[in-house]
Symmetry: D2
Subunit: 342 residues, 4 copies
């Protein structure tokens, strides 16, 4: 830590990551510096790298990816509680303004000035260190690994989806898409008392990983097998694939008064939604934009095993192997969550 | 009442209504017979008459239209409280089974066996009399006209939409479509404490009627005028037109954490919905299927003037003029609510 | 089953249970006959036996106790689905009218005509057989024991308490009173994602049983130990002892915006509640009256081990040993749940 | 305004108010200075003056009363939007920290560091001018008087009570206590669609004022007259008197699943509450601590006449007549709201 510079991974052009040396950050008065230990690659990181944009967020100039991050606090600002120093932490990546109407209403994730790691123009966590407001780091128990701590972010999406749809204990849940977010959403739903949970995905590898965590994983089209099942519908659909077809298929299986969480960001601007068929069942659709107020709950659910994450991290790379990490995430069919270690 | 037969209006083919004589109904043990005084024509009545179907509901054989109805109880079954006899009543048209899981959960409007007036295979109210379970009639105050009582049905749609979107006092509401349901939804929203209420419709006549009831009525495209308005978004959108374009335009004007009630039944099976644009604002879409638990509340809101309905009924016809009534509803640009009197 | 009579246990006077022979029941058209296998003794059964009343419910004449019951369907009425025959079932003891305003709103447990087993004037389940409406029995999986099925009733109280207080995942919960309902409430809360769960009781035996099920059980007064604990308050208090002192002590430990479920029925008519101290924290108090809509959820939570009930049943007696069973429930300090087997 | 000093009213001892000259305030960077026009006397102001404390809040040293205030912005700090300058405003008296867990959850009124006007150690508004964070002032329409703007504070208590009890349109509401808060709570409830609203108070003068605003005002004991009324219970009780007897009487009139808002701060530390009688009806009790997120809604409801406040202000005094104003509030039986004008 004595060197004045550190390694940072910069996206310098589409599909181009470069290893750079940059000045180490110093903490502002209410900030901490975190020595990054684990950063998971998210689909949004890959989208920025390969397409340069997600909706209205466009990458300009050199850009640092990574927002699923955990590490150790190595320095604190003058206004920060000393007990954070040397703390092992999971990082909540979105810093709100705290004064706009959304923040005041308790919906800080909808703050128009949210500064979110690896969302333009804000740099991400693929660095040896980052500085971030102290309110954004959450202490984790000693028993929790940094990889698990990095998974708090995608699991938070799952928890927030469950909250958005007002999941009640005993409800039957269909999750479409068995990527990390889908599997974690299914595991979180179970830890909240959901009853029958089915997760569908065309990939046998993904189904296999989901099944190894105890979820009932099926091919799309088999969600209500066996054909003589007593109940053929779900109370809740959590759509995590971004696929219009998965959404349309899933909606057919939602029963009266059912609720749908729209988590997966579609590629296209518009989705064809069968409103005419949804009205008689009075189905509700809830878009899901990240999360709020989830970190401490998810840390606890993962730490005590109610949300078992082992097996979800399939690949590990060092920070300067980040290009290979993104390649694995993109091309290796066995990749579930790819983790980079600084 | 001494004659054994009565007049009923039957739809005998597409676009064909015939005046028939039919046996007067007798009340079952838990039923009442209502002498019909006012029946409003709904868009769904017109859809059955002109197209023979709405979604999966298909008209087979002679069919009686009309479900916005009010009248006087002229006979009661043996298990019915005598205080209903000669009572002036508004009719709630959907009779649930009371034992299925939806009914037990309090969502009787989603009962799969709901027997709803003028929804195949159930006959409607365009008759001198109908028999209906006593639980389906609601006494109205003496000060309330039968026309107002018939408007309780479309106003109930408005109240239910407000409940579905969890309308809070002080919220800004946009209503798209200034037909009877849209105007009543706007009036109900105001009676529940909504703040800024804007209703948009391309028809100047409809805007004029909405404005006469105190609503701020605008052309589509002018919902957020003047251009220097401090707030450019709405908390709630209640879509009452069934138009994809109105929905898409309206969605652009919904702010963060906004909620949308989908009331208007679209002509087409699928609507193109900009999910990608809704996720960042975390907008929620609630389909609205009729109503439940609304009658007594709406009766009170209309009776004491909090929902002022005068001016909404633009045309009156006798029962045997029903063909002319439907023609007016279809062709007269000045028609808002057309009322038929038995 | 060929004999025309069967054994029934009748309370014939205060503190007096007698073994009687009574005619076997026949199922009504929509009823089933259940061969009773397990009946748990509830505090309310003991209260009727020893005091003859609970509030306004007063025992007149011979009375059959027992409402936590499970068994096998041995006969069905003509309107009952044949798949129930020979089904292993947990019995939901309260039969609602389905037509009053409470039932229609989905709150059937508040039905003024609720016919509840072992609540005067309705007989209970301490018999070889009982007849009950088919809607009141819920099939259980083969893996579930009848004792577990009988525990669905007290666990339902726990689930309903969690719902009444709108328990959210991640919340800290204090349960006062480690009887069966308290322990089950704590276990259910954990299965719904609650975070820190503490249960307090003066009895070391009860604490020991609670601890064996994985709950953090403490003496009253030690709920927030260790003294250096970061958080000294709970989000939710579930009061299961009926003790004014436990309630008052517990209320001191509830944080801002905290919610309290009042489950334990007090001996006295009035409790002294520190409203002046609750207002600044804006605490909410929810009385809890049994349950509604809980059976299928609780069956699933117990069946798959998320609510682990082993160890809760401490005593077993045959039906004709019912007097000894009640004596054990009353006098044996080791008694948690006493189960009677017909 | 050119003078460097201004008039302030200081409470210098129990029952002692003195007129003092103090330095005019200067706005901090994010503050405004408001020229006070109207300040309503609240029961809590009187309690501080006469008893020196409310619960744990104790007056030490010279203290300025008054928190129901309105005026004109006469100076702004460097970070404040210029459009506030010369704005006519209603003042929201509680300034939260915006960073604690309560603030982040959207419950800023429960912020442990809330700086509330005229709550020790924070000075109040009985001055020619005060400085306050700009976020705490809300612009009012030109048509709204300063007296009405000062009434936004007590009306906010009423709105928040309605929200705390989740008042639904069509519900029957009983308000106990026809002081300003009770009357405003009843008027707000009506503006939110409540149905039957009854307000009870022993004072004929207070009942008369309530009745003049259109509320059904009765003596305690006559809440459900006439004796043949169809419905004898209320869905919601809003207790605004602080009287144990009023609460106990009111609770008898609350129906199944009823909700109670506890607004009135009792004199005594404990209230005797009939929990045993509340459990069968499963009644919920919500303490009400001021308000949050109410100002803009209440401004609108008052400004457009949905909450008609004329007649509520019964007495007017100049700032240096503050002692007389408090005497009138304490002794004049005709006093409803006493307003002081700087």
């Amino acid at each position: 830590m004595s060197e004045p510079t550190m390694t940072t991974i910069e996206m310098t052009a589409l599909d181009t990551l470069e290893v750079r040396r940059r000045a180490r950050p110093l903490p502002g008065p209410s900030e901490v510096v975190v020595d990054i230990k684990s950063v998971g690659i998210c689909g949004s990181d890959a989208a920025y790298l390969h397409h340069g944009r997600i909706g209205d967020w466009v990458v300009y100039g050199p850009f640092v990816l990574g927002h699923e991050a955990a590490g150790v606090v190595s320095a604190i600002g003058e206004d920060v509680s000393p007990e954070l120093l040397r703390g092992r932490v999971a990082i909540e990546p979105g810093t709100p303004c705290r004064t706009c109407s959304q923040c005041i209403e308790g919906r800080y994730h909808l703050c128009p000035d949210l500064a979110f790691l690896a969302t333009p123009p804000y740099s991400g966590a693929l660095s040896e260190q980052i500085a971030i407001p102290a309110d954004q780091v959450h202490l984790i128990p000693d028993s929790m690994s940094f990889d698990e701590a990095a998974l708090v972010e995608p699991a938070s999406v799952g928890l927030w989806a469950c909250r958005r749809v007002s999941l009640s204990p005993g409800e039957a849940v269909l999750v479409t898409g068995a990527g990390p977010v889908g599997i974690l959403a299914g595991l979180v739903a179970r830890s909240l008392g959901a009853s029958r949970i089915v997760i569908s995905d065309p990939s046998p590898i993904r189904r296999s990983i989901a099944a190894s965590r105890g979820l009932h994983a099926v091919e799309p089209g088999s969600e209500t097998d066996p054909p003589d099942a007593a109940v053929k519908t779900f109370d809740v659909l959590i759509e995590c694939s971004g696929s219009e077809q998965a959404l349309q298929s899933g909606l057919r299986l939602v029963g009266p008064a059912g609720r749908v969480g729209l988590v997966g960001m579609p590629q296209q601007d518009y989705l064809a939604i069968p409103v005419t068929a949804l009205i008689p069942r009075e189905i509700s659709l809830f878009t899901v934009n990240r999360y709020a107020h989830t970190w401490s709950t998810v840390i606890e659910l993962i730490a005590d095993g109610r949300v078992p994450t082992d097996g979800l991290v399939t690949h590990h790379f060092d920070l300067d192997q980040s290009p290979q990490a993104f390649a694995a995430q993109q091309h290796d069919p066995n990749a579930m969550k790819v983790m980079i270690h600084a």
